[in-house]
């Protein structure tokens, strides 16, 4: 029991630490990012538990600003993604932003 708690705590700390660290964003895999977003984010961001969140909700500059310090994104404590996956997610959100050449439509 105790051990599980410690492991969970450590995992949380590591995650928080990892995501609040600034990392080189961009140039990820937007295709994979779209899937990773579905898997890790849309579970909450479905309009029920958390607001619907589509790439086209923001401009590319806004996405950059949002991800400049992921520690400030309120739900980032709940994330279980690693840095590489998060970069793919960011790339997806950014590449399909509302002012991108191909803004995301619905899904």
């Amino acid at each position: 029991m105790n051990r599980n708690l410690i492991v969970a705590l450590a995992a949380t700390l590591i995650t928080v630490f990892a995501v609040s660290m600034a990392f080189a964003m961009g140039d990820g895999n937007a295709r994979k990012g779209k899937f990773l977003y579905r898997k890790n984010c849309r579970t909450c961001h479905n309009g029920a538990e958390a607001p619907d969140l589509s790439p086209a909700d923001r401009t590319q500059a806004e996405w950059k600003a949002t991800f400049a310090d992921t520690g400030k994104i309120k739900c980032s404590g709940d994330w279980t993604v690693n840095e590489k996956d998060l970069n793919d997610i960011f790339t997806y959100l950014h590449d399909y932003a509302k002012d991108s050449p191909s803004p995301a439509k619905c899904s």
């Binding site: 895999n29 295709r31 994979k32 779209k34 899937f35 399909y96 899904s107």
Partner: protein, 365 residues
């Protein structure tokens, strides 16, 4: 007195013979086993080690099947390991006057001699041993043959090789060994530019329609003439592969991006051989209704998320949408659910569909 002189002369003659013997005798050093009486050389064997196989001739590899035979053998040879000679003797020709040529791993190897004696005991009258065996043959001949097990492990370990299907192109498109490219034997000269530049370092493996097919053998000889140093034939060919490793034989040509299918290959396949792949269009039903690839099935990413296991896996799977975005998502979703899935791809391209199911495909970027 005379007797002594004769004895001396005989001894001298023997000594001379020993010295005058072939230089190679250095290696052989009177092997410690009984030599078969009729020994043949490379030139003799090479006459028979080619396609089409001659009737009433059998070349027999007496070495263990794995790893020796599988790793490389004399073209057209049959594997009958000496240790299993009695058990497998029924594979020998029925006619007792058929020519049997036994070989194994060279002058120090007793297996072919042992087997040859046994064949003679069975009543075979035309038995020979190629004593210098496989090492000598490999050095001298244009190419050697390999077993599919060897090809399979080369494939699994990502070795440096190029696999070439020598059958007519249509056959290749209908189903081929994974990783193969199609260079029909009849077009070998025209398409030789597809062969790798590195003639010494890359192994070329040719195959065609099985043991009776000569196309791969012919292509191997042509490749050797072009200067390729390591040339092999997988004699069991596509029929053997299908039997041993399953029929998921369509070799999908991969595109540039991770998981992407080569666009040109895809477009050609859906026209010429649509049943070779399972094509899944992941757009919404309303979009699908407005036009789609004729052979496509509609299944949205949400549906795949729920029912991925319903997608048949007997053929390569290709996901498509209108831009590559949702198809790519479907690809990663599928791979996340079945991480050991092979032959799953998506189309990285922008497609305009018309209501009559015609389409224009534009490569992305």
């Amino acid at each position: 007195m005379h007797k002594k002189m004769i004895a001396a002369a005989v001894m001298l003659a023997f000594a001379l013979m020993a010295f005058a013997g072939p230089v190679a005798a250095e290696e052989s050093k009177t092997p410690a086993f009984r030599q078969f009486h009729t020994i043949v050389d490379y030139a003799f064997v090479a006459k028979y080690a080619k396609m089409p196989k001659q009737k009433d001739v059998m070349i027999i590899d007496s070495r263990p099947y794995k790893p020796k035979y599988v790793d490389g053998y004399i073209p057209t040879a049959v594997s009958i390991p000496a240790s299993q000679f009695e058990k497998m003797a029924d594979q020998l020709p029925k006619e007792k006057d058929a020519l049997l040529i036994f070989y194994c791993g060279g002058l120090a190897c007793p297996l072919s001699h042992k087997s040859a004696f046994m064949a003679e005991e069975m009543g075979y009258t035309n038995v020979k041993v190629y004593a210098e065996g496989y090492p000598d043959f490999k050095k001298r001949h244009a190419y050697a043959s390999i077993g599919l097990e060897k090809l399979h492990s080369m494939l699994a370990e990502g070795e440096q090789y190029m696999l070439i299907d020598s059958r007519p192109y249509q056959k290749f498109l209908e189903g081929a060994i994974p990783s193969a490219i199609g260079i029909p034997e009849t077009q070998f000269a025209a398409k030789r530019g597809m062969l790798p530049a590195d003639k010494a370092g890359t192994t070329l493996v040719f195959y065609c329609g099985g043991y009776k097919c000569a196309l791969s053998h012919k292509s191997a000889v042509m490749a050797r003439a072009l200067g390729y140093k390591q040339v092999m034939v997988a004699e069991a060919g596509y029929p053997g592969w299908k039997e041993m490793f399953g029929a998921s034989g369509t070799a999908v040509q991969a595109g540039e991006a991770e998981g992407a299918v080569d666009t040109d290959w895809f477009l050609k396949t859906i026209v010429e051989n649509p049943s070779a792949i399972t094509l899944i269009d992941v757009r919404d039903p309303e979009e699908f209704a407005m036009g789609h690839f004729p052979s496509a099935t509609n299944m949205t990413v949400n549906m795949i998320d729920k029912n991925a296991a319903d997608i048949p896996t007997d053929k390569p799977i290709v996901f498509t949408c209108s831009t590559g975005a949702r198809a790519g998502e479907a690809y990663y979703l599928y791979m996340d659910k079945f991480s050991d899935a092979k032959d799953v791809f998506y189309l990285e391209a922008t497609i305009d569909f018309n209501e009559d199911n015609t389409y224009e495909v534009h490569p992305n970027k």
